[in-house]
Symmetry: C2
Subunit: 315 residues, 2 copies
């Protein structure tokens, strides 16, 4: 849908502007989407020209205020929205949007990222995921537990009472890509095997790192040794490598207190990735429910807009 008859009732444009994608929704006063649009004008591909890229995408819509989350608020984005401290809830974040008026006279409010400044951990940051987490808290107000947002940089957050209590970043997706495509191990792995969640060698590797306690750094070279000594197929070895990285992530998260044995877990990811993480968690006897990231970012933007007075306070 790019336009629909009732867009005259619209109240706000909600925008998820990440590194590689720009997505916008036209919202009614209650926060329900009336229309949506998307382009590949991600922050990572733009060099200035943010206003033009955005106005082009929403040209057919009424000229309304916009709320935006994601890398659009980074130093490389349209306007920097400084990190807020954690813990943070919708009221705290909604009160600290970075607001400005564009050259064309449109009001824009950008959602800040969150930061943890801790001597013990040297700090951490998220930007974009805070909006999904607020969306999850809005959809499931009673939820208390761990939310995993896997990807290039996996984010683990603890959510309770509608507040983001803590979070932790793991460079899991990027490490897997580097190891499988750029490292010496690339000669020992190959794509085309079974889906991760179904591969026996994926679960085996998760067990090694997450259950048996084999350190990730001490486990890596076994990918090569399995090929040399056990003639393991390269396709199976890719699942094994993936299991080492995700299992290593689980082990690290548990050691850092992000994952107890009685923890409720939500996974915000594509279906395939969510199944892989659910499978990995099941090796530890944990279950998890998957949630759709797009729905959550939309719910979060609407919630923050209400907190900021950009939408009606009640719906």
């Amino acid at each position: 849908m790019n336009a629909s008859p009732d867009i005259t009732t619209a109240a706000l444009v909600a925008v998820d502007w990440g590194t590689s994608r720009l997505r916008a929704w036209l919202l009614d006063p209650a926060g329900n989407p009336l229309a949506s649009a998307a382009s590949d004008d991600g922050i990572g591909t733009l060099n200035g020209g943010h206003e033009a890229a955005f106005e082009k995408l929403v040209a057919g819509w009424p000229k309304l205020p916009a709320i935006m989350a994601g890398m659009v608020g980074s130093r490389q984005g349209w306007r920097e929205a400084a990190y807020l401290p954690c813990p943070a809830n919708a009221a705290a974040i909604g009160a600290q949007l970075t607001r400005f008026t564009t050259d064309a006279g449109r009001s824009v409010a950008i959602v800040p990222g969150l930061a943890i400044r801790s001597d013990g951990r040297d700090g951490d940051v998220i930007r974009g995921e805070e909006t999904q987490l607020i969306g999850l808290a809005e959809r499931e107000p009673a939820f208390a537990g761990t939310v995993i947002l896997p990807g290039t940089h996996s984010k683990w957050a603890r959510l309770a009472g509608g507040s983001i209590a803590d979070f932790q970043t793991f460079m899991t997706g990027e490490l897997f890509e580097l190891l499988s495509e750029k490292s010496f191990l690339r000669h020992s792995v190959a794509a085309g095997g079974p889906e991760l969640a179904d591969a026996p060698d994926f679960a085996l590797a998760v067990r090694r790192t997450a259950a048996d306690g084999l350190p990730f750094l001490g486990a890596l070279f076994s990918v090569r040794a399995r090929q040399l000594l056990l003639d393991v197929k390269r396709e199976d070895n890719l699942a094994y490598l993936s299991g080492l990285v995700i299992g290593g992530e689980l082990a690290a998260a548990r050691a850092m207190g992000s994952l107890g044995t009685d923890t409720s877990v939500r996974i915000v990811a594509s279906p395939a990735l969510a199944r892989a993480y659910a499978r990995a968690l099941s090796v530890l006897g944990l279950s998890a429910e998957a949630r759709d990231g797009s729905e959550l970012v939309l719910a979060g933007l609407a919630r923050l807009a209400r907190a900021a007075g950009l939408l009606e306070q009640t719906r």
Copy 2:
């Protein structure tokens, strides 16, 4: 030296043929070097033509039998020398050299690598380092403890009674290169800072991962956060990243039993790398002595040649 007057007393050619370098020594009957030569015809750069590359290097020397260690014995080398099981001493390895006669009529003996086949660890392999370890055992017969051979793929070995008891590979150097040059973290680090062993942020990161118990995978993204939140200089952050990787290696080695608190440690590396590892070990209250890798490989080749009857049994 490429030749010297007394080369007529020579008895054997000793060869260290790795991925990037080919080095040869002409040895007298007692195993002392009379001449040496080196080229860039490493196994990784050759596509066949091993005999020609070798004969070209030693063209001015008497045509004597040769003993060779390193990747020359790998599947991609001149002739595959199958892995021997661990534990292994000089007698066991010397009895299992892969021998053949070249087209030009020269006798060649290739040193096998060592393998660990363990269900708990899915196996490990070394090739080339076994010869340095035998050389260290020859030079220091009373040594019992841990030998660290840092590099692209760090090898940790336990040596006792002249025997290589166990070993473990960590992809430390390669991981550091991938993370500092190819990952998202490359934007947060820069070369040109203090030498690793002297950088305060190197020791800080070693403490985080090796002493405080911060999991390596949970520590990595702090390289980015330190830049964003603490304005850490990129040069200092490179030392920090290096400390995370080496500290992570130490923590993993300790968890895997390769490093006790009362362990005698030898480091076989270039002076700069040896100083960095010694500095990292000192954070854990451990001391280590450095040894020169070239001297050890020569001592190891001579020792194995004696075990194999290619040099006089006594010297």
